[in-house]
Symmetry: C2
Subunit: 229 residues, 2 copies
Amino acid sequence: MSASLQIGLLVFPKVTQLDLTGPLQVFSSVPGAKVHLIWKRIEPVPSDSVLTLTPTVTFADCPQLDVICVPGGAGSDDMVNDEEMLDFLRRQAKAAKYITSVCTGSLVLGAAGLLRGYRAATHWTAMEFLEPFGATPTKTRVCIDRNRVTGGGVTAGIDFALTLVSLLVDRQTAEAIQLRLEYNPAPPFNAGSPDAAPPEILAVMKERIAVTQPRRSEAIRRAAARLTS
Amino acid sequence: MSASLQIGLLVFPKVTQLDLTGPLQVFSSVPGAKVHLIWKRIEPVPSDSVLTLTPTVTFADCPQLDVICVPGGAGSDDMVNDEEMLDFLRRQAKAAKYITSVCTGSLVLGAAGLLRGYRAATHWTAMEFLEPFGATPTKTRVCIDRNRVTGGGVTAGIDFALTLVSLLVDRQTAEAIQLRLEYNPAPPFNAGSPDAAPPEILAVMKERIAVTQPRRSEAIRRAAARLTS
């Protein structure tokens, strides 16, 4: 293992690509960091959009990581019951400095048994699914509990990654990256959280979630049962 | 050409991947939109990080686009003198509804002659390079001038894309996407613009830029000379 910082982002089918690419942009700017995109095999993996993600290293060949980061998305519903993924996370977690996630990636950490007794963030639509894994859901954009650092939904990954860089290296390094990425956000509308969004927008989103939620519920139920058995 | 909205993002070597992946996440959520990743050939293209980007369509096979979007990054210094890229943009621009960019992608639009007489945004380090193309640099995060919609540096691409969706479709659609992406940003530090950043952070960034700026200057000089000849 080299002296450089080893940062690994997990890749999987139907990952929400911005959950991964936001933090990736931040981590890639850390001096001396080596960033890995990790999956079972080196083959293009479809994301939630037309973008395919090509892993740089397999589970088998991945060096010990200083930072493990699990992004989220629809595909996390499969990952919570993927023993190969969960075994990889458990193995890496033993010696990693930080065990982290963005969006529903925290459900995968939970399914690996890595959030029991920890506070954690997740996408606003998935808060109820942390408790079956013994985690305490928190509505913050970035949640730090000892060495578990978890981000909220999708774009929270940028806030999460800058926070993590300040912990890993220092505040000045994080600020220099923020300036380089011109991260001075100015959302054109005020609809970025369930509390802020206009009621009719929230209602539309809740209708859409109602369609996918039973599948997620069932996946989480199975994952939680396996964890406690 | 189908009735759906055709949105094309240009891919090129050394693109800053978040310039592309931020808007891609937003555009991919637009009902009925078909999103294309466009390059000369269908082959993995290296970004500025370990992520490779695989185009979905070539210049030759790309349908007429409703939206052209050029991301930025170090690679844009090559693209401003890449006749194949510039020809593609000029050809598409004739019938596109919106001609857009993120970060230094606006320099490539400028080099194609598509910003003459327009106001435009770009990365804060590249403001001076818009003028040689007859564009007026503006320090806004999103700049709308008739059908040219240009974003500032890197993360401005998310604000840009939500704004563009509100123009292309409607505000409600943009707000629903904002809620889905939980885009309620809370940067942990206040260093995201040259005006806000601590002086010592700005000084470090300016030192780094001084190293790459001569190459960019020379590329822009050549591109501007070609445009006016």
